[in-house]
Symmetry: D2
Amino acid sequence: MCGIIGIYGNPEAATLAYLGLYAQQHRGQEGAGIVSMDGAVVHRHMGEGLVSEVYHDPADLKRLRGTSAIGHTRYSTTGGLDTKNVGPLLFNVRNEPVSIAHNGNLVNLTALRSKLQAEGAIFQTTTDTELLVHLLARGPEEALADRLPRALEQVEGAYSLLILSPEGLLVARDPHGWRPLAIGKLKETWVLASETCALDLIGAEELREVEPGEILVIDGKGLRTVTHLPPGQLAHCIFEYIYFSRPDSRIYGANVDKMRRRLGNALAREAPAPTADIVIAVPDSSNTAAIGYAQESGLRHDIGLIRNHYVGRSFIRPQQDLRDLTVKLKFNPVRGVLEGKEVVVVDDSIVRGTTMRSLVKLLRQAGVKKVHVRVSSPPIHHSCYFGLDFPTSEELIAGTRTSAAIATFLGVDSLAYLSMAGMLASMDHDPGHFCTACFSGEYPVEIHDVPRKDMFETSSSPASVELPAG
Amino acid sequence: MCGIIGIYGNPEAATLAYLGLYAQQHRGQEGAGIVSMDGAVVHRHMGEGLVSEVYHDPADLKRLRGTSAIGHTRYSTTGGLDTKNVGPLLFNVRNEPVSIAHNGNLVNLTALRSKLQAEGAIFQTTTDTELLVHLLARGPEEALADRLPRALEQVEGAYSLLILSPEGLLVARDPHGWRPLAIGKLKETWVLASETCALDLIGAEELREVEPGEILVIDGKGLRTVTHLPPGQLAHCIFEYIYFSRPDSRIYGANVDKMRRRLGNALAREAPAPTADIVIAVPDSSNTAAIGYAQESGLRHDIGLIRNHYVGRSFIRPQQDLRDLTVKLKFNPVRGVLEGKEVVVVDDSIVRGTTMRSLVKLLRQAGVKKVHVRVSSPPIHHSCYFGLDFPTSEELIAGTRTSAAIATFLGVDSLAYLSMAGMLASMDHDPGHFCTACFSGEYPVEIHDVPRKDMFETSSSPASVELPAG
Amino acid sequence: MCGIIGIYGNPEAATLAYLGLYAQQHRGQEGAGIVSMDGAVVHRHMGEGLVSEVYHDPADLKRLRGTSAIGHTRYSTTGGLDTKNVGPLLFNVRNEPVSIAHNGNLVNLTALRSKLQAEGAIFQTTTDTELLVHLLARGPEEALADRLPRALEQVEGAYSLLILSPEGLLVARDPHGWRPLAIGKLKETWVLASETCALDLIGAEELREVEPGEILVIDGKGLRTVTHLPPGQLAHCIFEYIYFSRPDSRIYGANVDKMRRRLGNALAREAPAPTADIVIAVPDSSNTAAIGYAQESGLRHDIGLIRNHYVGRSFIRPQQDLRDLTVKLKFNPVRGVLEGKEVVVVDDSIVRGTTMRSLVKLLRQAGVKKVHVRVSSPPIHHSCYFGLDFPTSEELIAGTRTSAAIATFLGVDSLAYLSMAGMLASMDHDPGHFCTACFSGEYPVEIHDVPRKDMFETSSSPASVELPAG
Amino acid sequence: MCGIIGIYGNPEAATLAYLGLYAQQHRGQEGAGIVSMDGAVVHRHMGEGLVSEVYHDPADLKRLRGTSAIGHTRYSTTGGLDTKNVGPLLFNVRNEPVSIAHNGNLVNLTALRSKLQAEGAIFQTTTDTELLVHLLARGPEEALADRLPRALEQVEGAYSLLILSPEGLLVARDPHGWRPLAIGKLKETWVLASETCALDLIGAEELREVEPGEILVIDGKGLRTVTHLPPGQLAHCIFEYIYFSRPDSRIYGANVDKMRRRLGNALAREAPAPTADIVIAVPDSSNTAAIGYAQESGLRHDIGLIRNHYVGRSFIRPQQDLRDLTVKLKFNPVRGVLEGKEVVVVDDSIVRGTTMRSLVKLLRQAGVKKVHVRVSSPPIHHSCYFGLDFPTSEELIAGTRTSAAIATFLGVDSLAYLSMAGMLASMDHDPGHFCTACFSGEYPVEIHDVPRKDMFETSSSPASVELPAG
């Protein structure tokens, strides 16, 4: 998953983009980048790591002059973890700079890439995003805005796109509406963001979402719709509500926190735990669902696990065996709350199950008498090809196991998932508006190739570059 | 405040120290360092920033060979924010390496430092800790352990100390017991830590606290008490229970979480808010007190503020005025929870009041009808000279204002602090065991000089050093 | 100008390439890079600055595994001073790595680049070299070796080329033979180098030069000529003999030192200075010509200027006016040698004249009575489009001025250049074998566009990249 | 050896100091540093490597504000190669900054250091220079200038000193006058430098040398002599003339170039080589002596060896055996000059003999018929304890071998050294003014301890410091 942000018409465009990335840090923590446009001059600063790591030096932002900018926080799906894959990507198309920020994932890469290479195209990255740029570089039309519709008609999959060039800011969303993309305004400044929490931080007002299949351009003359791509089946990612988006965002027209609380309510109705003493969350993503569960069930909500927020991306482990160290680093149980209790542990989803398994052991060591795990979404049986980095079915704990087998693996006294029907009934939209492929296996479009992150990596060590000391 | 950790008798001493710093990151986020002892060879790696930033490269830990190590997370009280002030400090005393990690603050620096300088002493840092080392460097006795008691008799203030040298690991705590210091054991390995949460992460069992005034040595022959300093009035810092320590730690023989919940309970009894709809915490340090308040009052507890944990140490601000940006970066209100409600906001303490003031505005913007602020400790009227970095009385909001004036400043509908009596009655210990000077102004020892962080800074720019590129 | 090196068939290919770059450092001091090929895996390390700066860490060379490698020292002609322009360039062509090192300069860039861009080509650098790779990426043939001849037929200008791919090492030289390129062998290892001094350092024996227009391939089956391009007029750069190559190299089949001494001899015959006391060189490039002058004239040769070799690429200047500081930093006159003397100063060439002017002032300050400047080549009237970074005619001191005017500008007592005839008569080859365009203005091929270094720079600030701390 | 520079009374003091270090780079290439004094505020920037490496960023110089500054280029004699040993050293003495730059070496370290440590002194470096500062920190007098004479009376050995503090610039030279130290003036600015070449570059006029044993102070009232230390036997280092100083410097009142040429003349008279065809130097330090030899002997001088000036401090070697690579990297023979000739090779001195041995092989490979080595100083039999980093007698080739054995080792046809008498007769001063201990073994003072570079290193790995990314 990734977060994107676009700013048009502000003398501090890059700084507002930085704020927008900051608010959307949860959508991608591997890298961050901003490209600004200052007339026909383009500036770029990007790096691996958190936004605060990439932009620790104010001078780096100051150099990003110009009144428009796009930004990207990266979470790799296609394209390895290589600096050159950190967005926004920047290309020289017909001697003009073109920069692109992309949230989503394409699913017909292989054939398209081979075709382009046979024609002489030289690829610079291993991302799916670059393919869009090669398509954009072709065609007789002068303006990018005129070449963009035909380029997009050739690709399939999920994309919310921001394209910055001297022409202006191009905006597009795939016809299925897989990933959110909101339009906001702060006085005269246009703001585009994956989630509305970015608009909130900047102080921009939300106008509407970009419509599925809509192509927009923002330039000196304002914002206008260029065209709509041929419509497709709606496929909003329901996992954005369950886990991915921030609870204080609005996406697809509804408040995430509200949906998440309803999932907890529904879970309490479907899978009560009447003998339990307290309900605790696996912090932080399950906090709201746990409160929903507690409120609906009447059980007491408490804080039984404290999350250590200092865990960096890299952690150095001792060689000697310290039991359950990984989970202990992240969560510490509060013995005073847990000792002697029968506890409902609410989690939003279970992917591989290994973290929950260690967590259950930790809870038992803290004196918990009985552990009832309640999951506020159905079992994940299938991979996602549209932007979430789920493992293969073989690695998903629910990919091959029954709930009973999972309960045994986790070592819990009881385990229950929210049902598909329960999940869909909690939403504001019709069930047909959502992509639920990770639960159901029903993919809204055909998957031509099973993408792997490294599918286009040539066997090269990352180029190492010595910059001058100065 | 600072966190310290000592390991003796483990082939991975430095890595265990690293884990111990990790668990105690909340006690100091300005810098971190570890010194290990490998026979008579000493190794050191330290830096500014979080533990995960200072030790991102496993090679840095690997170089810290040896079976004993001490570590320090820094939060500056005396001595400016300069790398050379990051602990553990390392000195060459009579051609042997001596390293020292210190939690606390001395209060008779000026006279001692002048006396030593007149005798020819050349100081390398501006910390109070170095003074101890100059005292240790004097005296006819051969062993450090024999010189330490006389050195400590000359200083006054708060100190929990770890001193590593080829002799072994020396441990000392001031006679007032200001700061905690626990002794633990993991099989044959001795572990010393400010808080027991560090022992938990490492998997060590807590044996006991170092006694006030006790001097210990750990060497090849095991652990033994060298001597006790002349006893002083007990002065455990009560603020460790209120705010500083981690809720899952045990200090002074009692569980922090339990004390903190009781403070919330007492607050609910003393200052109810019967018309309120919900109780919310200012996350994360007030979470437990808020639950205590909710449980005692019978009001519903909810999550009304979400904390952004990605806020780095440095944040780059736009020049245009974005209202309440600082607080918005840290906290985002959950409108669905707050809108139209009368809300009790529980905080553990209020220092300057500016954050709470912005927070109140943010809550009102999210639709809160009435805001009742409840503080789970008394008003802070006075500075701390024993390790907490409070501002002067003039800058403390309660230093010069009545509660009514503070309520007006904050813009709240009601404000109440826990009483001194209520706070002390919540504890497991007698009131006389605590230092409550920040509330009462009654300092357990005479303050000879009013220390400032920069009191011994010579006017020098930090030396900049060019290391070779390799 | 640039220096290139290729190694094929040696387990330490990259280290030998490094030695080869080292020996050819004088051919390019802006940047250096090596690409190695380890089966189908490619490794690259490059940077700005001297070879010793780019490869200060042995680990950087160690990572360049594989039995073949190419290297490049950069001196920019086309393409700005940007790390991404430092060679060898590396591209992904049809999912295979292709790396290219180029000495020379193309002269029909603009039309070709526009044509390729109209077809959708996206350029990654602003070098002329990349154009060759886009031509190579097109065409139905499977093997690069088969596509290379057609690619080269489309370009015009000077090129000595090394192309490394999983196929092997491709080698080519333009039909005019503008730049040197020698083939050597060290046991089973093939070595290609701009100058033979690189072969000498490695210990390889020179076999022959690559012939003008020859395309070679070296692979597991050995070295073989693929084809010859249609022949063109020979155009060996005579300036390689005058200034550019190292005196201990052999190029175009003759020893540089020998040619340079003969230029000094001829100069002494054409422009004697019979009243002079001593002959001194402008060190180091004119040392040999000065000795040639002294020997032919019978005047005494002495060391009147000492060169400071510590002058780095960047020098920090005071704001106060220190007279002739720039030249003083580079050269210091030896007063004991110069005082009271009438001196012949031999230089190999004069470009802008500013350095010589300051030098003359410095000599006079050291007590020189009379200064006779003698230049061992004709006046430079015209720009070079084939790899030398001469300024425009307007900036060349001889571009618009007579010798008398130059003498006045320099402040000398007499000035003489070697004649065109004298220069050509000093060579081992027929006059028709040389490009003398910088002196005569007769360019061997039509100059379609007047290249500027920055002709293809988009207006972008160099992308700044934050790498993770580790 | 080291070079030192002091500037007093100039708004660009640090930049002038930088120029002075630049000119004296040959005196120390391991590290460089400058300390400036801006009122009572001190600034420091130092690093390992060449001046141009340490000061590549103009901002680093700009930060060194103030009107006085001292600088140091380091070549380690006592104290290992550790950044903290790079000068000028900076200490906090009685809450005032005191910085010191030292050229020379003390010879009664051990006893003094032990005595100070027993009194409680804590050493920060392992340099001999720090000892002086600990002595300076003691004593009842208020002013450093008043404490300095007694401090210096306690030490023995070679020192030219610059001490910068808020009091002003203190200057001292040992009573033997071992190392040079010149006083110059540029308008109102005082300039102190090891060699006059630094005055020349800055544009300052030489006034005189600091006298042996003289202590000076420069402050707002100008320059004045504080006192003279009790006189000692004069002991100017004669090796400064032979090799160490720059040929364009004046030291001890005479021109280095003139002395060096006379050494060559004397060598030609003592050890002619009448059958030789040419005389060549081992560049660059022997150039002047070689010309002196040629002029006196009437033999033709030529350039037979070209020195590669790009050899960095670190060079990465291949594992495969490439014969004589080290010498080949540094020198390349000019075959055209050497082939078939009988050659006199003039060198200024031979230390270990290994370089000359490889060089002779290289000359033979280039076709030299006969090699006559002539050395413009006597054989070096003994170590230097006064600032030159000679190896022990065992490692000096002349320490244990006769000239005949050395000739065999080198593989030459003849070998001759200049005689002691010939050397001394070439000088402008009486023989009794010089220290010739490295030739004669007659040390002007008693050597109390045989210093080793690492004599005071504790066994610690260099502290590694992580600075924040910004």
